[in-house]
Symmetry: C2
Subunit: 121 residues, 2 copies
């Protein structure tokens, strides 16, 4: 079974983290054919952290896990921190295919979204 793990930065503000959990639930409703599991995890400041999120996917029966970084820019978190954590987890689970997708901001659709927000501001 294929799992998607949506990874956000994490905030001290609970409502911000709840938004991410809600997005993951909505994603599950829209990508259920491709992903039998869709969960969320956080880099820092909030539970569950990425390694625990990966463990949770495996516990739920994932044989492969796609990590989707919910980040806008290719900052240090996206380029260094998240890959480093994923690599450590992958070493611990050699039988699970753990892959890292491009961060959200790399999407070709981002410019359309930005234009829409600017025009409607």
């Amino acid at each position: 079974m294929k799992a998607l793990l949506l990874v956000a930065h994490g905030s001290r503000r609970k409502q911000s983290n709840d938004e991410v959990d809600t997005l993951a639930k909505k994603l599950k409703n829209n990508c259920g054919e491709q992903y039998g599991i869709v969960n969320s995890a956080f880099l820092e400041l909030a539970e569950v952290l990425i390694p625990d999120g990966i463990e949770q996917c495996i516990t739920e029966g994932a044989s492969s896990i796609v990590i989707l970084p919910y980040f806008l820019n290719s900052g240090r978190h996206v380029v260094e921190d998240i890959p480093s954590i994923i690599n450590s987890c992958a070493v611990q689970h050699p039988n699970i295919n753990i892959s890292l997708a491009p961060h959200l901001g790399a999407s070709d659709l981002m410019m359309d979204l930005l234009i829409s927000s600017a025009v409607n501001a």
Copy 2:
């Protein structure tokens, strides 16, 4: 003249900040009819900071400035820090209409973008 100021968090990684500046330039090409000025600024870690970005818009002739937070979640930066900075700047410029648009993650299009990224991951 109306200005749009795209405000991102800012990163220690120059390339990440350059992405934001590039987005602002592309936005200018797409929203030029609505905004005579489109600039970028950062909350922290990178130049120009928000107050300087606002000053820059005014120097370029802005009579009104829309601040568009390039953030995904309604964390502390979006809910507290950016509004606080904008309010301070507004007090200093009572003749300039400075308004704060919803953060990017609040867009209805975000779910479509997320689904697209997940399906293509």
